[in-house]
């Protein structure tokens, strides 16, 4: 053993709490118990939410904005009445619904907004009213690297982001001097979510998933969660998966439930399949600005619809076909 051992100085510590504690050995134990058999995991949104989500869970949605959103799972979650969730605040449209339903208590926050359409009024009402009790800041990459650390089975990952800023001060990162280079780096603690929701282009009944186009942080989040609920535009035969194993981004053993959800990202878009429903989204943007109109939106588009089929019927076949991308 080297005799010149020294300590690594911790130069700064973010004030933010670790909303979700890190327990790598507990995560390993959980993963060990997950079934490795090729069983049928298809079920409805309601069955998946009933079975796998409980109030107070730390939950995460992928991807971003209105792109490849597991909206049918988000709506069912709202209808379930479960609440007091801790969440990753990573800018997904799903959160607008959760805020409107007052289901969120603690947030690891990076960006919550409507992109080109501005600030999320639902988020503002939730945060400014004090109904959010813990709010910890991160950069977008930092949050994703926290998933990456969990996905690697390690307790933290270094970064050169966030240094020198209030973003770091209000995070739970720690700044240390690198024992190899002497330079300062921020250490990001691993983030293991209780339940993750990911929408994909194709899955088989066991949960083997393929995604077209950008993969966002699906790879990382799928490997950084204890329970993974997949919704998929298409359910394909496992043979199709086995023909192109290099297209599998999420292998079945990570997955707990597979929900068949055609147009599942509506009103958002799905790579290569359909475009965003811009008129609907614009009307949402207007309605979300005030609580009463947002409540009416929630009633009309979430609470009054028993399931995704009812929503598809309400949106209408013509509208959905109009959004569908025609093969070139």
């Amino acid at each position: 053993m080297n005799q010149n051992l020294k300590n690594i100085p911790i130069i700064e510590e973010g004030e933010g709490p670790l909303i979700q504690p890190i327990d790598l050995d507990g995560f390993r134990e959980h993963n060990r118990k997950k079934s490795k058999a090729l069983i049928d995991k298809t079920m409805s949104e309601k069955e998946a939410i009933d079975k796998f989500v409980k109030s107070g869970d730390y939950i995460g949605f992928e991807l971003y904005g209105t792109v490849r959103c597991p909206m049918t799972l988000a709506r069912e979650l709202v209808r379930s009445g479960k609440r007091n969730f801790r969440i990753v605040g990573q800018g997904v449209h799903e959160l607008d619904l959760l805020f409107a339903a007052d289901m969120v208590r603690e947030i690891d926050f990076t960006y919550i907004g409507l992109e080109v359409y501005g600030i999320s009024a639902n988020m503002r009402r939730a945060v400014e009213s004090g109904s959010i009790t813990k709010l910890v800041e991160w950069s977008n990459a930092a949050l994703t690297w926290r998933f990456k650390a969990a996905s690697m089975g390690i307790p933290f990952i270094p970064t050169r982001s966030m240094l020198g800023t209030d973003t770091l001060k209000k995070s739970a990162a720690k700044v240390v001097e690198c024992p190899f280079t002497g330079q300062k780096v921020a250490l990001l603690p691993a983030l293991i979510v209780d339940v993750a929701f990911i929408h994909v282009n194709r899955a088989d009944k066991h949960g083997n998933c393929q995604i077209d186009g950008i993969s966002g942080f699906a790879f990382e989040m799928a490997r950084a969660c204890k329970t993974l609920i997949i919704s998929a535009e298409k359910i394909v035969d496992t043979k199709e998966i086995r023909e192109h194993p290099d297209k599998t981004i999420i292998p079945y053993y990570l997955v707990d439930a597979v929900v068949h959800a055609p147009y599942g990202s509506w009103p958002g878009e799905m790579s290569g399949m359909y475009e965003r429903d811009e008129p609907h989204y614009k009307s949402f943007v207007e309605k979300q600005k005030k609580k009463d109109t947002m409540d009416a939106y929630m009633k009309e588009w979430v609470y009054d619809l028993p399931d995704h089929k009812a929503l598809v019927d309400k949106v209408g076949k013509n509208k959905l076909e109009e959004l569908t991308i025609k093969e070139a």
């Binding site: 991807l63 971003y64 904005g65 209105t66 792109v67 490849r68 605040g89 800018g91 926050f109 990076t110 960006y111 919550i112 907004g113 992109e115 080109v116 600030i119 999320s120 988020m123 503002r124 945060v127 400014e128 004090g130 800041e137 991160w138 950069s139 977008n140 990459a141 930092a142 994703t144 690297w145 990456k148 970064t159 050169r160 982001s161 966030m162 240094l163 020198g164 800023t165 209030d166 973003t167 209000k170 700044v175 330079q183 300062k184 780096v185 921020a186 186009g213 950008i214 993969s215 966002g216 942080f217 699906a218 790879f219 990382e220 878009e269 790579s271 290569g272 475009e275 965003r276 811009e278």
Partner: protein, 254 residues
């Protein structure tokens, strides 16, 4: 013969002209998308747009509406994920990065997190998103802002995204990558850069019809002024035609 144009169109053209051919640029939602698209069709056909959720080298035929949408990798070189993109930037591959915010100070530090106290905010803003990462690891960042005293302030309420922090040497001292930092601020009034020595914001050129005094009046901190302040030219007919006919035919940004 100059055409009429909107303030947004001017901002887009000014931001577009800053971009250099054969470089990489981190593109955020809104004006940077139009600016990058315009640059590809003007002086920078080999501009490589990079979008944080995975799109690299898209041909920006249709205007993306979001940093993750299908247009961000339209006929692209690669469609990967956020980690790959952010790590590519952390490794030093991304030259330009666009930023915005509710407040900016003389060192180019940006606030997009909160107005008022963090715990009891007056206005909760959308948060860092990729902003902090872009500001940390891109070589040169370009802020696009509306120019007024509430936004250009002595002290920002929250330092979301690093500019030069507290001044010369502060970025390196904090551990941020060497030789990185703010490069330009493009506003509806002018274009500013930063003084090499003091790292403080400095007026470089004013927009058509804008005076140096107007810029100073609308800036809440002491603004340095270049020895010779240039005049930014109007959007050209060609720029406006491309913007209106090719990039934004629906007039979302008119």
């Amino acid at each position: 013969m100059e055409q009429k144009y909107s303030p947004s169109e001017l901002l887009i053209c000014l931001a577009s002209r800053v971009m250099e051919d054969g470089t990489t640029a981190f593109i955020g939602t809104g004006i940077p998308m139009l600016a990058a698209s315009l640059a590809q069709k003007m002086q920078a056909p080999n501009l490589v747009p990079i979008f944080e959720f995975g799109g690299t080298g898209a041909i920006l035929e249709k205007l993306p509406l979001a940093v993750g949408d299908m247009r961000t990798y339209n006929k692209g070189i690669a469609a990967s994920g956020i980690c790959d993109i952010m790590e590519t930037s952390q490794r030093g591959f991304v030259e330009f990065g666009f930023l915005g915010g509710a407040q900016i100070d003389c060192y180019g530090n940006l606030n997009s997190t909160v107005i008022g106290d963090h715990k009891n905010p007056k206005v909760r803003l959308p948060g860092s998103g990729g902003g902090n990462d872009v500001g940390s690891s891109c070589w040169r960042t370009i802020a696009i802002m509306i120019h007024d005293k509430r936004r250009f302030v002595e002290k920002i309420d929250f330092l979301t995204t690093p500019g030069f922090l507290t001044g010369p040497g502060a970025r390196e001292e904090a551990g941020l990558p060497k030789d990185t930092g703010p490069y330009r601020v493009v506003t509806n009034l002018c274009i500013m850069g930063y003084d090499d020595e003091s790292k403080k914001m400095k007026l470089l050129s004013v927009n058509p019809g804008v005076t140096v005094e107007q810029v100073i009046e609308n800036t809440g901190f002491e603004l340095l002024v270049a020895d010779e302040v240039a005049n930014n030219s109007h959007p050209t007919e060609e720029e406006l035609r491309i913007l209106r006919e090719e990039i934004d035919p629906d007039g979302l940004y008119r």
